[in-house]
């Protein structure tokens, strides 16, 4: 006998709600577990002092700084390239073989495992270019890792602008470049910023691409030395730098200090909180920027 449409509808609704709840519970459980284990470790000392790998009682200060500085360096490389590439794909590329090829390359690149990009970075950037284990090598590897996502987000953000906007600009006698910068960009900017911040979250949590590029150690840093060429300076882009995510991996797998489990838990909690903050702020910043740019309430 066939089921009544109403009954079928009810069953489907229940199944879908249960699945959705399952995902939410899983996510909250995971978050709760990480935060519960780690939040007790977090205090000012933990966030600012250097790790003590042998005797314990250290913090994650340099790693936290490295992660943030590396993110900044990566964005400096990725934003011009990614936004530029995306704008090209959305507004300039003519449909044809070359465009399809570029799109294929971008898609293949975006599905590359990050460890492979790390190894590629080791061979090309670290060894061949002779940049060594350094923040700059790490930033370049992360840029490769992140670029496809950036190009795609930008292209989609520009394509999502109604084509009537562009027509209005053309009919008003504006140049293509003026239309892109003054009419399309303000409309696309909120999605661009949201996309960039979400990508930043991914960059921030990335470990595999960095182990062989930015390195797994950090020289003792002197936070009073702001000369970018001095080897102990925190802002020297050519020094090796272990990031937070790499540190978690290292402490967890080969830590020998008495408190390495607690350090890993605390660092994980910090990482999760920061990535969450990136995600939550993305929407909010996107909205604020849109209001600023368009005079809407």
């Amino acid at each position: 006998m066939r089921m009544k449409p109403k009954t079928a509808d009810k069953i489907a609704t229940v199944v879908i709600v249960v699945l959705a709840l399952f995902i939410v519970v899983l996510l909250l459980g995971l978050l709760g577990f990480i935060l519960f284990r780690g939040i007790g470790q977090i205090n000012w000392h933990f966030l600012t002092s250097a790790p003590q790998l042998l005797k314990g009682g250290g913090g994650i200060g340099p790693q936290l700084f490295n992660s943030i500085f590396l993110l900044v360096l990566t964005l400096i490389i990725t934003i011009p390239l990614g936004w530029g590439g995306g704008i090209y794909m959305a507004e300039y590329a003519k449909p044809g073989r070359i465009t399809s090829f570029i799109r294929l390359v971008v898609e293949v690149l975006s599905s590359f495992p990050s460890i492979v990009i790390g190894l590629f970075g080791l061979l090309l950037i670290v060894n061949k270019f002779g940049l060594g284990f350094s923040l700059l090598s790490g930033a370049m590897a992360l840029a490769i890792f992140n670029l496809p996502l950036m190009v795609r987000t930008t292209e989609q953000a520009f394509r999502a602008v109604p084509k009537e906007q562009k027509e209005a600009g053309l009919a008003l006698g504006l140049s293509k470049w003026k239309i892109i910068t003054s009419i399309l960009l303000p409309v696309a900017l909120p999605s661009l910023i949201t996309g960039t911040i979400l990508a930043s979250g991914r960059i921030f949590g990335e470990a595999a691409a960095l182990m062989f590029t930015a390195g797994m150690s950090s020289p003792p840093l002197d936070f009073t030395d702001w000369n970018p060429t001095s080897p102990r300076s925190p802002i020297n882009p050519l020094r090796p730098a272990e990031t937070l995510a790499v540190h978690i991996w290292k402490v967890n797998s080969e830590g020998i200090g008495p408190d390495s489990k607690e350090i890993a838990a605390g660092a994980s909690a910090v990482l999760v909180i920061l990535v969450l903050a990136f995600n939550l702020s993305a929407r909010w910043i996107g909205r604020v920027v849109y209001r600023r740019m368009t005079a809407s309430k």
Partner: protein, 251 residues
């Protein structure tokens, strides 16, 4: 002798399909010309070719001449950016920029080099007055244009087109997405504006064509069937096809 503004043997192709077939049409000064005809007859394509907006459609090709003050706008060397400042355009769906009311109008003039705030203020006021929108928005010029009603947005788009002082205005079904009151306002506006510029309007509304236009051109399957004074076309057309369309027998 060169035609002041009009087309000569204009044909437009999309790939192998010929959408507009050798149309010669002139637009007299200070008048409204209505382009009518069933959907797909090529009238919108024809309209869009007049300011070279068809160039933006991949695979389109335009042959023939578009004359304006003795220049052929369809010559490859034509500066389309300059040309589009002389020929404004408004679409069926209002498309204000995502900017304030003020900046929607000031944008074009500012781009063309008007920098002083006073001059821009004047242009904004003048354009909005010409588009009969000033009284409704003068107290909220810096609010978003998207907060306006559909009819107001459409008049804003007309004001925006007027801001760069065009000689010709192309209207592609400018009132078909509006309610009757807003439609009335837009029609009134068109009759006002034709004192100063040439207007070419595509419309599906026969009453509208009869009300506001001085000349009417009837398009069918890409060809110009009949062209003449509106009164003549609507009361005593020469061609049977025109009569049948106007009487609502097909279309």
């Amino acid at each position: 002798m060169a035609i002041p503004f009009g087309t000569e043997q204009l044909s437009i192709y999309y790939g192998h399909f010929q959408a507009v077939k050798q149309i010669s049409l002139t637009f007299p000064e200070a008048s409204v010309t209505a382009l009518i005809g069933p959907s797909g007859c090529g009238k919108s394509t024809f309209l869009r070719s007049l300011n070279r907006m068809n160039d933006e459609i991949a695979g389109s090709r335009t042959e023939g001449h578009i004359w304006m003050d003795g220049n052929d706008l369809n010559e490859p060397g034509t500066d389309v950016i300059k040309l589009r400042q002389k020929i404004g355009m408004v679409w069926q769906k209002p498309n204000p920029f995502h900017k304030s009311i003020y900046n929607n109008i000031a944008f074009g003039p500012r781009y063309r080099g008007t920098k002083s705030k006073k001059a821009l203020d004047e242009i904004v006021e003048k354009s909005l007055r010409r588009a009969a929108l000033w009284d409704e928005v003068k107290d909220r010029l810096h609010d978003s244009a998207l907060a306006l009603s559909g009819g107001q947005q459409q008049r804003l788009c007309i004001a925006r087109a007027l801001s760069v002082d065009p000689q010709i205005l192309l209207l592609d079904e400018p009132a078909s997405a509006l309610d009757p009151v807003s439609t009335g306002k837009v029609e009134e506006l068109i009759s006002e504006l034709k004192q100063e510029l040439r207007i070419v309007i595509v419309t599906h509304n026969m009453q509208q064509a009869a009300r506001i236009s001085d000349y009417t051109a009837y398009f069918y399957l890409g060809s110009l069937v009949e062209h003449g004074e509106t009164e003549h076309i609507f009361t005593n057309p020469d061609n049977r096809l025109t009569q049948e369309y106007i009487m609502g027998r097909f279309g």
